[in-house]
């Protein structure tokens, strides 16, 4: 059980604020006078400063304070926003991020430089290098004086004091705590009953106070009303200790200490009260650490497995009541699983929004004009998928901009708009989400791809390739040249890593490109990683699961056809030849083929193969369990699942099998 740590909450919050600031700044670029965005950025900086100072991020608070001050001039309309200013604030924001990550990092010089730039951009005075953090407001309890003093106070509160929440009786109580008081109320200003405003205050007071506390303690009582009230304080006399006023046991320090210690001790003693305070009146949103969701998901997975065992037991029982209960449990666990899935879904906006900054920076870096557009940002995807996709997408977008988009002059010459267009879109299609990165640049130069692939030995000179095969070459390890790697350094992934990541998510990459018109790369990824719809099949005596999203159709393979095709392993499917794999051979089951074998045709986008199985058992919703460490080299299977009867079924790795099938086909082609 983890308790919330304010500093951790602050870090999360800071990350959100950075998004808010960055988003505001980038929007501002489209409309430099947009006051809403200016306010949003200012508010972000302001909150960051305030919270930063609260939690000991002093360097951050100080730095942000100066940025806020500079930006305030924009907010007040003294300076108008400009692209340079936005770039300065963005750079400053990166520095703030660094200060959140490493509060004591030694980068003050960088900060000073950024502040100087920022101040130059808003035309302010030169940056003051060192910066004073607003100190914690003084909390020193008043030191007790050694002798008691008698004061004569006369005060009248503003007539709306009570309406505004000040309780005069509370003030009198506070005075009484300072020492002995003699209080007289002056009722002379109280009007007749018919003229009385119930919330108004008409009474004033005269108080004679004898106290060991200094004058400032009296001022403190009235601190909130000081400016609006009439207050006269006159010192009458200093006297020796008097009865009724308890002199401090020992002078100054211990008293002060006590005042400080007491609330703290109390706070420590009752921290569990925080937990109790969540009596159902909390905010509508609850923050939950991601790993708890993962745990819950795990449990739900176990429950689904246990439930399918129960269903199987109940199915073979004649006990009507058991069957009824089992059906209820089945329905409930199904609903629970669906709810759980939804909990893990987050909109892709989270993923997309970070590209605005990337594109902004790249545009400045490359001198290209780029318009980034989004579509379907509200599409929801499993949180893990989003996290894992971030780096590959960054790479793909960089690639589009680096290699795809042309410089403005080049574009004009080609009859296009000056600024290039990059579209990031997401949409749901069945159990998959399709994320597309589309640009209107120069497209992929097939000759260059081929030349490069031949030079690096990926294909034989003169080898015939389908267009899709040729384009997919850019995802081969070793395809990227050294120059590209340097260019993209820092982000650290190549196109082959992109492909691997997507495949690890059980996804596929499609690539389309038209010379001169642009390229489009689509990632098709399952919506969730934890549970899949599968087709349960039998091969020999073992059960296997094929992800349903990859299944195109199922056909019967008659014994004669099987014998006839031996050595060729192709079936003809609506005028095209589809290679197939006999899983019985692949798994070396050593069993005789079932007389009614089936072919399950699976595909990933443009490539497909058939898998010959003995029997199709049916569809099966499957909780995926990853393979143990000992089996991590196994490539044919992507995981395992537990069936209703408690037995284990392996999940076939569709992408691997398709590759095997395609290779077989290539070998046959080469041989024939």
């Amino acid at each position: 059980m983890t308790t919330l740590d304010p500093i951790q909450v602050f870090r999360t919050e800071a990350a959100e604020l950075f998004e808010q600031i960055e988003g505001g700044l980038l929007d501002l670029l489209h409309d430099l006078s947009n006051q809403d965005q200016i306010d949003a950025v200012f508010r972000g900086l302001h909150t960051l400063k305030g919270s930063g100072a609260m939690f000991g991020f002093e360097a951050l608070a100080a730095f942000t304070h100066h940025c806020e001050t500079a930006f305030d001039r924009v907010r007040k309309g003294e300076v108008s926003a400009s692209a340079e200013l936005v770039a300065c604030v963005l750079a400053a924001q990166d520095h703030m991020k660094a200060l959140v990550d490493r509060p004591n990092g030694d980068n003050a010089e960088e900060g000073d430089r950024l502040l100087a730039e920022l101040q130059a951009a808003v035309g302010g005075q030169g940056g003051s290098g060192t910066v004073v953090t607003p100190p914690l407001a003084a909390n020193a309890p008043v030191a007790a004086d050694t002798a008691a003093t008698t004061w004569k106070l006369s005060f009248r509160l503003p007539s709306n004091a009570m309406a505004n929440g000040t309780n005069p009786l509370g003030l009198l109580d506070e005075l009484r705590e300072l020492g002995t008081c003699e209080i007289r109320a002056d009722l002379s200003k109280v009007p007749g009953l018919n003229q009385i405003e119930p919330a108004d205050l008409y009474v004033s007071w005269q108080v004679t106070l004898t106290t060991y506390q200094p004058r400032s303690a009296i001022d403190d009582v009235f601190i909130f009303v000081m400016d609006e009230m009439e207050l006269q304080i006159e010192q009458q006399s200093s006297t020796a200790p008097i009865a009724g006023v308890k002199a401090p046991d020992t002078p100054a320090a211990p008293a002060a200490e006590k005042a400080v210690m007491e609330p703290q001790a109390r706070a420590e003693a009752s921290t569990p009260a925080v937990a109790e305070a969540k009596n159902g009146k909390a905010a509508e949103n609850v923050r939950v650490p991601a790993e708890r969701l993962d745990e819950l998901m795990d449990r739900v997975g176990e429950l689904v497995i246990a439930q399918s065992r129960l269903s199987q037991l109940a199915g073979s029982s004649v006990d009507i009541q058991l069957r009824a209960v089992s059906e209820d449990v089945e329905r409930l666990s199904g609903e629970l699983r669906d709810t759980m899935m939804v909990l893990r879904m987050v909109p892709v906006t989270q993923l997309f929004s970070r590209f605005r900054r990337l594109v902004h920076d790249l545009a400045r870096e490359t001198g290209k004009m780029i318009e980034l557009e989004f579509e379907g940002e509200t599409t929801e995807v499993d949180k893990t998928v989003i996290e894992r996709l971030a780096d590959p997408l960054v790479h793909l977008v960089r690639n589009s901009i680096d290699h795809g988009l042309e410089l403005p002059d080049e574009r004009i010459a080609a009859g296009k708009d000056r600024s290039g267009r990059v579209l990031l879109s997401a949409r749901q299609s069945g159990g998959e989400v399709i994320i597309t990165i589309k640009d209107d640049g120069r497209g992929i130069n097939r000759e260059r791809v081929r030349a490069k692939a031949e030079a690096s030995g990926l294909v034989q000179p003169g080898q015939q390739l389908m267009d899709q095969e040729l384009l997919q070459l850019i995802f081969q390890p070793g395809f990227s040249t050294a120059a590209q790697v340097t260019n993209l350094s820092g982000r650290g992934v190549g196109m082959d890593v992109v492909k691997k990541t997507v495949e690890a998510l059980r996804g596929v990459i499609d690539i389309r490109s038209e010379p001169g018109k642009g390229s489009e790369i689509s990632l098709r990824i399952p919506l969730t990683l934890a549970i899949i719809d599968g087709l349960l099949v039998r091969v020999g005596s073992g059960n296997y699961v094929i992800p349903l999203s990859a299944v195109e159709e199922c056909l019967e393979l008659s014994l004669e056809e099987d014998l006839r095709s031996r050595g060729r392993s192709f079936i003809s499917l609506r005028d095209s030849l589809v290679p197939y794999l006999r899983l019985r051979d692949l798994f070396r089951t050593g069993t005789a083929p079932d007389p009614y074998q089936k072919v399950v045709v699976i595909s990933t986008g443009d490539e497909r193969i058939g898998l010959v199985v003995d029997q199709i058992i049916g569809d099966h919703q499957t909780v995926i369990k990853s393979m143990s460490k000992l089996h991590h080299d196994v490539v044919t299977f992507s995981g395992a699942t537990i069936l209703g009867d408690g037995s284990v079924a392996l999940i076939l790795d569709v992408i691997h099998l398709i590759n095997v099938g395609q290779q077989q086909e290539a070998q046959l082609r080469a041989a024939g």
Binding site: S51, G165, S270
Partner: protein
Amino acid sequence: MSAHILTVDDSASIRLTTKIALTGAGYQVTEAVDGLDGLNKAKAGTFDMIVTDLNMPNMNGLAMIEALRSSPAHTGIPIIFLTTESDAEMKSRAKAAGATGWITKPFDPEQLVKIAKKVLGK
């Protein structure tokens, strides 16, 4: 029955700190995430005191305070505002809007408790 305090702040970390301090001192705390949320919760519930930030999205603290004070049911509820600037202008604007008192950020949790006690009485 412990006093019930509504805290209004768009910063989750400040809300948490405020809540820890106040619940630690035995108060009951309800949170709101911005001025509008604060106004709605204040109208829907019964609170002994409100602690609010000023600079917030949707509805800022000043507007919330004004809206509350214009409703007879919320006359007299102490409203303490949090402000990062010890800026006199902001203070007087908030006071004019009907706030009872203020606390300057960054603040010590103890200081907040002290102010709560001061405003709510013992």
